[in-house]
C-alpha cells in the first residue's frame, strides 16, 4: 500500500462524494422543506446521464450535451411535479413512497424501451488532456478532477443561494414554518415547485457528469438513491452543509474501504478469504457508520431546521 494508491483512492472517493452530494442536495431540500419523500429522485440522475449522452452524440460534443441536459432535466422535474408529486404533498409518507416508486418503475422502463438494456456508449469529453501527473509517476484522469471541481463549485453556489439570497431565506423560512411564510404573502406552492425543479436539475447534472465515468444503464439511479438517503440522514435532513460533509464521508468510506480493506485484512487472514470478507465489510461500512450515527445522534450530524 503506497502513498500514491492512497492518494488515488482519496481522489476517487472525493469524486464519488461530490456526485452523491449533487443528488443528495435536491433530496434533502425537498425532504426538509416540503416534508416529501421522493424516491424518484434517483431517476433524475439516470435521465441526466441518458439525456447528456444522447444529446452529446447528436451535437457531436460531450460538453454541449451536458449543457443541454440541464434544462431538459429541469423540465422533466417540473412535469413530474405537476403531474404526480403535487397531489401527494398532503398525503402521508407511505403514500408518497409507493407513488414515487411507481414513477421509478415507469421511467426506468421507459429508458429501457428508448435506449435498450445494454449500457450506453458515451462520447469522451473532448478538449481535455487525458491525464495529468499529480505526483511523480502518478497520472490521474483530468476529467475526474473536473468532476470534483464542478461539485465543489456547485456546493459553494448552493451555500450562497441558501444562506445569502432572498430566495434562500424564503426556503429556510419555509422549512421551519411553511404556513407562516404563506401567511406573510409568499406563494409557498411556487417556491416548492422551484425548489423541486432545481433539485431535479442538480441530480440530472450529477448524472450527466457521471455518464463518461460510470455505466449508463436503466436503473443506475436506484443505488445512488439509497446512498443519497444515507447521506441526508447522516448529514441531518434539510441541511445542505450536512449533506455536503456526509456525502464526502460516504464517498471516501465506500471507495477507500473497497480498495484498502482487502489488503488490510490480508495481514490477518489468507488471501482469498481476505478478498471476500474485505469486499463484504467494505460494502457494509457505510451502513455500519449510518447505524452508529443514528444510534448515538438520531438527528444526524448537522440537524436541519425541522429537527
Amino acid at each position: 500500500m503506497s502513498l500514491s494508491l492512497v492518494l488515488v483512492q482519496l481522489l476517487n472517493g472525493a469524486q464519488f462524494g461530490v456526485l452523491l452530494f449533487l443528488v443528495a442536495a435536491g433530496l434533502t431540500l425537498v425532504f426538509g422543506v416540503m416534508d416529501f419523500i421522493n424516491l424518484a429522485h434517483g431517476v433524475q440522475y439516470m435521465l441526466g446521464a441518458y439525456v447528456a449522452a444522447s444529446l452529446g452524440v447528436w451535437a457531436g460534443d460531450f460538453w454541449l450535451g451536458l449543457l443541454m441536459a440541464l434544462p431538459v432535466t429541469l423540465l422533466i422535474g417540473l412535469a413530474l411535479e405537476w403531474l404526480v408529486f403535487r397531489h401527494l404533498y398532503q398525503r402521508d409518507h407511505l403514500a408518497q413512497v409507493l407513488a414515487t416508486f411507481g414513477v421509478i418503475l415507469t421511467l426506468d422502463e421507459a429508458a429501457r424501451a428508448i435506449w435498450g438494456s445494454a449500457p450506453l456508449n458515451v462520447p469522451q469529453p473532448g478538449g481535455l488532456p487525458g491525464g495529468i501527473e499529480i505526483m511523480p509517476g502518478l497520472i490521474y484522469p483530468v476529467y475526474r478532477l473536473v468532476i470534483i471541481g464542478a461539485g465543489l463549485l456547485v456546493a459553494l453556489l448552493l451555500w450562497f443561494l441558501v444562506e445569502r439570497t432572498r430566495a434562500g431565506m424564503l426556503i429556510r423560512a419555509g422549512a421551519s414554518n411553511a404556513p407562516m411564510v404563506s401567511a406573510l404573502g409568499v406563494d409557498i406552492r411556487r417556491l416548492f415547485t422551484a425548489v423541486f425543479a432545481f433539485g431535479a436539475m442538480l441530480a440530472g447534472f450529477a448524472g450527466a457528469l457521471a455518464s463518461p465515468v460510470f455505466a449508463v444503464a436503466p436503473g443506475m439511479g436506484d443505488n445512488v438513491l439509497i446512498l443519497a438517503f444515507v447521506v441526508i440522514v447522516i448529514g441531518g435532513i434539510g441541511s445542505i452543509r450536512g449533506a455536503f460533509i456526509a456525502a464526502l464521508l460516504v464517498g471516501l468510506l465506500d471507495t477507500a474501504g473497497r480498495a484498502l480493506l482487502p489488503d488490510l485484512l490480508r495481514l490477518v487472514m489468507d488471501a482469498s478469504s481476505a478478498r471476500q470478507t474485505g469486499a463484504a465489510i467494505a460494502s457494509m461500512l457505510v451502513y455500519i457508520v449510518m447505524a452508529a450515527i443514528l444510534f448515538f445522534r438520531p438527528v444526524g450530524l448537522f440537524p436541519g431546521p425541522r429537527a
Binding site: 418503475l105 415507469t106 463484504a280 457494509m284 451502513y287 447505524a291
Partner: protein, 331 residues
C-alpha cells in the same frame, strides 16, 4: 356474527378462492408455483403490516428476516439436515434472534430514522449473505431437494405445498389479527397514535414494540424458509433492499386499515406483474402508472376498495341516507 362476516368478508372470500384455485384451471405446476410465491410473500407482508399498520413501525429491512429464514434452510441443506421439524423451527428462531438483536437497537429511533436503520441492518445481512462462499456467495445456492416432513417428501407434491402455504397464511393472518385485537395489540396501536400518552398511563412502548418486531421477524423467517422450498434456490437477492421495498409496497397498496390488505397487495402485485409481463414487452410502463393511480385514487388501498365502490353505488347512498331516519325512529 353478521358484523364479523361483513368486517372479514374479503379474507373469507379470498382464502377459499385460493383453496379452490387448483381445481378451477390453475392446477398446472406453473400456476401453483406462482400462487405459492404470492401466498408466501403475502405471509411476510402480513407480518410487515403488523409492524407498519399496527405499530406504526415502517421497516425497510424486512426482507433480511425472510432471507435469514431462507439461508437457514440452505445452510442446513448443505449440512445434510432436511427434516422439516428441525429446519422450519430453526429458520424461525434464527430470524427471530436477528430481529431481537437489530430491533433492540433500531427501536431506539423513530420515523424516517427507523426506516433508515432497518435498511442499514438489512444491507449488512445482504452483504454478509453474498460473502458466504460455502453457500454460493453472489450466485446463490441450489437446494438438493425440498425440506422433508417426518422423513417423507411431502412438500415435493405441488398441491400439498399449495395447501401448506395456504394453511400457514391463514394461520398467520388469524394469529396476527388476534394479536392486534388483544390487550397487547391495543398498547401497540395506542403507542402508534400517541406514545406520550401511552407512557403517561404507565406503559413503556419499547418492550411491546420489540416483541412485535421479533414476532414479525419470526413470521418472515417462516415465509423465507417456505420461499426457499418453493424455488429450491436461495440467493442474496432474497435479502436485498428492493425485496424489502417490494414487501412494503404490497402492504401500502393493500391498505393498512386491515391486516388482510397485505394479502391483497401481495396477490395483486405478484399476479399483475406476471399477467402484464406476458401481455407487454415493456410491462412496467403500465404497472408503474397503475401504482401511482392506486395511490392517488384509493386512499385506503385495495382493502378500502369495496367500501369505496359501495359508497358510490346508489344502494350504498340509500343506506347512508337511511341512517339518520332509522336513528330518528329509534328515538
Amino acid at each position: 356474527m353478521t358484523a364479523f362476516l361483513r368486517r372479514q368478508a374479503v379474507p373469507l372470500l379470498v382464502l377459499p378462492a385460493l383453496a379452490a384455485a387448483p381445481f378451477l384451471g390453475f392446477g398446472d405446476s406453473f400456476a401453483l408455483t406462482l400462487l405459492a410465491r404470492a401466498m408466501i410473500l403475502g405471509m411476510a407482508a402480513v407480518s410487515l403490516s403488523l409492524l407498519v399498520g399496527g405499530a406504526g413501525l415502517v421497516s425497510l429491512g424486512h426482507a433480511a428476516m425472510m432471507g435469514i429464514g431462507a439461508y437457514t434452510v440452505a445452510a442446513l441443506d448443505a449440512a445434510g439436515v432436511t427434516e422439516g421439524l428441525v429446519v422450519l423451527p430453526t429458520a424461525v428462531l434464527a430470524a427471530a434472534l436477528f430481529a431481537l438483536a437489530t430491533g433492540a437497537v433500531s427501536l431506539r429511533t423513530s420515523g424516517v430514522h427507523f426506516i433508515m436503520i432497518t435498511l442499514a441492518f438489512g444491507q449488512m445481512a445482504f452483504f454478509t449473505a453474498s460473502s458466504i462462499s460455502t453457500l454460493g456467495g453472489d450466485d446463490g445456492y441450489t437446494l438438493f431437494g425440498r425440506t422433508e416432513l417426518f422423513g417423507t417428501r411431502l412438500l415435493e407434491n405441488r398441491l400439498g405445498f399449495h395447501f401448506l402455504c395456504l394453511g400457514l397464511l391463514a394461520l398467520v393472518w388469524i394469529l396476527c389479527s388476534a394479536l392486534l385485537e388483544s390487550r397487547f395489540g391495543r398498547v401497540l396501536r395506542a403507542a402508534r397514535e400517541n406514545p406520550q400518552r401511552v407512557r403517561a398511563i404507565g406503559f413503556s412502548p419499547y418492550p411491546y414494540r420489540l416483541v412485535a418486531y421479533v414476532l414479525a421477524g419470526a413470521v418472515a423467517g417462516l415465509a423465507g424458509a417456505l420461499l426457499a422450498n418453493a424455488t429450491e434456490f436461495v440467493s442474496p437477492a432474497a435479502l436485498s433492499w428492493s425485496r424489502s421495498g417490494e414487501l412494503l409496497f404490497m402492504v401500502i397498496l393493500g391498505g393498512m386499515s386491515h391486516l388482510y390488505g397485505a394479502i391483497l397487495g401481495a396477490l395483486a402485485i405478484v399476479l399483475l406483474e406476471e399477467w402484464l409481463s406476458h401481455l407487454l414487452e415493456y410491462w412496467r410502463l403500465a404497472f408503474g402508472p397503475l401504482l401511482v393511480l392506486s395511490v392517488l385514487f384509493l386512499r385506503d388501498g385495495l382493502a378500502g376498495l369495496p367500501a369505496a365502490v359501495l359508497s358510490r353505488l346508489p344502494v350504498g347512498r340509500a343506506t347512508r341516507r337511511g341512517g339518520p331516519e332509522r336513528s330518528g325512529a329509534d328515538a
